[in-house]
Amino acid sequence: MKTTIAHLKRGEKGIIKDISIDNVPVKLFEMGCLPGNEVELLQVAPFRDPLYLNINGSFFSIRRETALLIEIEKLNETRAL
């Protein structure tokens, strides 16, 4: 199973790998949702939908159905100072 943004837990980060181009609107690309950029899941609403994200410094929320179309690689770092 592919790991997507929808598989992130609150506070987790990932790097965007691949986007299902045909189903994801251009608007998301323009918000910075592009391969190679970092994504952080900041908050989830009840029933895990919608998801509140920080992608490439932009803060926005998208529905779960869209998040499932964006494949990522989880970053399992414990960022120590």
């Binding site: 986007i19 181009i21 045909d22 609107p25 251009v26 608007k27 998301l28 690309f29 323009e30 918000m31 910075g32 592009l34 391969p35 900041l42 908050q43 609403a45 009840p46 029933f47 939908d49 919608p50 509140y52 490439n56 410094g57 932009s58 803060f59 926005f60 929320s61 998208i62 529905r63 869209t66």
Partner: protein, 699 residues
């Protein structure tokens, strides 16, 4: 007058574009609609140095030149069409210093269209706190433009914008990104096919149809013959374009934009932790709603009572001062109360929009949308439908106006259509008097029946609204693809000037938009109620006086009986009698018929009309109630207001579209008579059927 410089303000949403617009134009602005669509068009005049003026057009906020909504499409249609009368001499691109990276994407696109562009970097007052430093000179060089560092909050940098607008001819127009590198062959062929057109413009025209179908763009070159790529190939290229632009932007900002990472996330993270919390988020939202509606009810009561009295005394004054005659009656009984009927809504509209714009400006509204979206989506509504629906319990008119924030047209239309089902405050007087008449004042397990009935009516209103939203969602075809993406902006202290201008603008748009229709209908209703075709109406005074000759009757009683006799023989009375066969199965007589027709002006008129028709001198509730309780149904011989007819009436008022003001505002907001007429027919038809069933079952 010399020619004005045409300026277009363009920018992402939440960059403070409207604040800059307000700073530039002050009160010299007007808000209208783009022809044929309900997108707001804001324009104004700005005085520049040396006596030159600029015409400023505040375009809808957009993230890029790829439209996904009607609002955004306005921007593209204008920028792609050089012969458009509003085509700008210069574009001022507003950006937010904290989101500069994303904001520059739109800027590079506008540069590619070779439109002279000034970059205004707004929210400069936040730079210190966020540890941001800019190398303006370097950025100007890299971006091929002039930059104004602005704080619309503090009012700084506005003069710099003005100076730059004045000197717009000196702005470089070379693009900063060459988009054609994403597929050289394709772009070469495209240029060869349309040698007279600008390349980036052609590309935008081709890709617009991928994003946003069904548009008539007759003013732009027809590229439909040039379809050498499939939809998904084009989309792949669009992604490449975005990557290409971001590469350029990242390279530029690397040198010219520094953030001191020591300045942490701060306010956003800690506020979000509470405000979007699974439990506390909702608790706080409902507490805020409660506060808002309590204050709307309480605060607007005083100005509304005052307006009511003011217009009543003004009307009396007009009647006493002007020479008696038809014309004076028109003014004192038709025109003045008609205007009063519009003005009375102003307090509620102003208060609601005061709160809504505070929530919007602070950034909190996006969090509400985030919390409510999932729940509302099931019914074809959006997270943004929550506020209009709940506002509907005060009054449907400001509520319908509040749907403007919903970008998706289908969700917005559904919200507009179902909002009038919510129990508005004008239904309350009708409910109270009928409940008092027909529902026993007894308790069951400590609960008062009358209170339960009132609560049930509120619940019925809400359930019908949501249920019909669900049906509409299933029935209506979507024209545009629905896509949900809500930006979560930074929390900000609202700017008072912006809030005040929003309130002013919404109030104006109600008074001058819907007001005309309300005034026209109320004058028609007045005419119908105060004129009659036969001698009976004209000679009402003599007929009634003759009837009581020799009897001991006070002048006051005589006058109220004359009024009642006049109403019975007026056009409206005749209509009431004419519809009697239709409303008899619902348990009503012609007197209720008259009240139904006249309360179309506003539901609460029902009580006043019954007072006139039963010739009760005062509008004191208990007096009317006693009189109504004594009324006999001519068909059954029993009481006219019993449980069956009472419940039937309550349900009729719960569902019927008995409010011309709502129809007028829906007409204004949807820009067609189609939707208000559909509401009128469907809601009132549904009300009729439900009331019929209720009466026949309970009889």
């Amino acid at each position: 007058m010399s020619k004005q410089i045409k300026v277009a303000l363009i920018g992402n949403p939440n960059t403070g574009k409207t604040s800059v617009f307000n700073q530039l134009t002050g009160l010299n602005q007007k808000v209208g609609n783009y022809p044929g669509i309900t997108v707001e068009k804001k324009e104004g005049v700005c005085k520049l140095p040396r006596g030159i003026k600029a015409h400023i057009l505040d375009l809808p906020g957009t993230y890029s030149l790829n439209a996904t909504s009607l609002d955004e499409n306005v921007v593209i249609e204008l920028l792609l069409n050089k012969s458009h009368k509003d085509f700008p001499d210069v574009a001022v691109v507003i950006s937010d210093v904290e989101n500069l990276k994303r904001n520059l994407l739109l800027f590079t696109q506008i540069k590619d269209l070779k439109i002279p562009a000034i970059l205004a970097i707004n929210m400069a007052d936040r730079m210190d706190r966020k540890g941001i430093s800019l190398d303006i000179e370097l950025l100007e060089k890299k971006l091929n433009t002039k930059i104004a560092l602005v704080s619309s909050r503090k009012g700084t940098g506005i003069d710099t914008i003005k100076e730059l607008i004045l000197e717009y001819r000196k702005l470089p127009t070379e693009p900063c990104v060459n988009a054609s590198v994403i597929d050289k062959d394709y772009f070469e062929n495209l240029q060869n096919a349309f040698p007279d057109q600008e390349l980036y413009k052609l590309w935008l025209v081709i890709t617009q149809d991928v994003n946003f179908v069904q548009l008539n763009r007759h003013t732009i070159p027809d590229t439909s013959s040039f379809n050498t790529k499939s939809r998904s190939e084009l989309k792949r290229l669009q992604q490449k374009e975005a990557i290409c632009r971001y590469q350029f932007i990242n390279g530029t900002l690397k040198e010219g934009y520094k953030v001191d990472a020591g300045a942490a996330k701060g306010l956003r993270a800690s506020l979000d932790r509470v405000l979007t919390h699974k439990v506390w988020g909702y608790v706080i939202f409902f507490a805020i709603l409660l506060l808002i509606f309590q204050t709307i009810f309480n605060w607007s009561q005083y100005p509304m009572d005052y307006i009511d009295e003011l217009f009543a005394s003004f009307s009396e004054w007009a009647k006493a001062t002007l020479p008696a005659g038809v014309f004076t009656n028109l003014i004192s009984e038709g025109l003045i109360p008609g205007i009063g009927g519009i003005v009375i809504f102003i307090p509620q509209i102003a208060f609601l929009f005061l709160f809504i714009s505070l929530l919007e400006e602070s950034g909190y509204m996006s969090r509400v949308v985030f919390l409510m979206d999932k729940g509302m989506r099931r019914f074809g509504l959006s997270g943004k439908s929550v506020v209009p629906l709940i506002s509907g319990t005060a009054c449907a008119i400001p509520a319908v106006m509040a749907t403007r924030n919903i970008e998706n047209w289908k969700e917005r239309l559904i919200t507009i259509l179902v909002t009038p089902f919510m129990t508005c405050s004008a239904r309350l007087p009708v409910y109270l008097i009928i409940i008092a008449l027909v529902i026993p004042d007894k308790r069951f397990m400590g609960l008062n029946y009358q209170g339960l009935m009132l609560m049930a009516l509120y619940l019925i209103g809400f359930i019908t609204a949501v249920g019909s939203a669900y049906l509409l969602h299933k029935v209506m075809k979507t024209r545009t693809k629905s896509f949900f993406m809500v930006e979560m902006p930074n929390y900000k202290v609202p700017l008072l000037k912006n809030v005040a201008l929003t309130v002013l603008e919404k109030t104006k748009s109600f008074v001058f938009g819907a007001g005309k229709i309300i005034l026209a209908i109320s004058i028609i209703l007045w005419f119908l109620a105060s004129n009659g075709p036969s001698d009976k109406y004209a000679n009402a005074e003599e007929i009634v006086t003759e009837k009581h000759r020799g009897q001991d009757i006070s002048e006051e009683d005589l006058n109220t009986e004359i009024a009642s006799y006049q109403l019975e023989n007026s056009y409206i009375g005749i209509i009431g009698k004419a519809i009697e066969p239709a409303i008899q199965p619902l348990g009503y007589d012609w007197k209720i018929g008259i009240a139904l027709v006249s309360s179309f002006a506003a539901r609460e008129v029902f009580v006043g009309t019954l007072a006139t028709i039963y010739s009760v001198g005062s509008e004191e509730e208990s007096t009317i109630k006693n009189r109504m309780a004594a009324e006999i149904n001519p068909v059954t011989g029993g009481k006219l207001f019993n449980l069956a007819s009472g419940v039937s009436l309550l349900l009729f008022y719960a569902f019927a579209m008995q409010c011309m003001s709502t129809l007028a505002i829906v007409k204004r907001e949807t820009n067609s008579w189609k939707w208000p007429m559909a509401q009128l027919i469907l809601m009132s038809g549904f009300a009729y059927i439900v009331a019929l069933i209720a009466y026949q079952v309970l009889k």
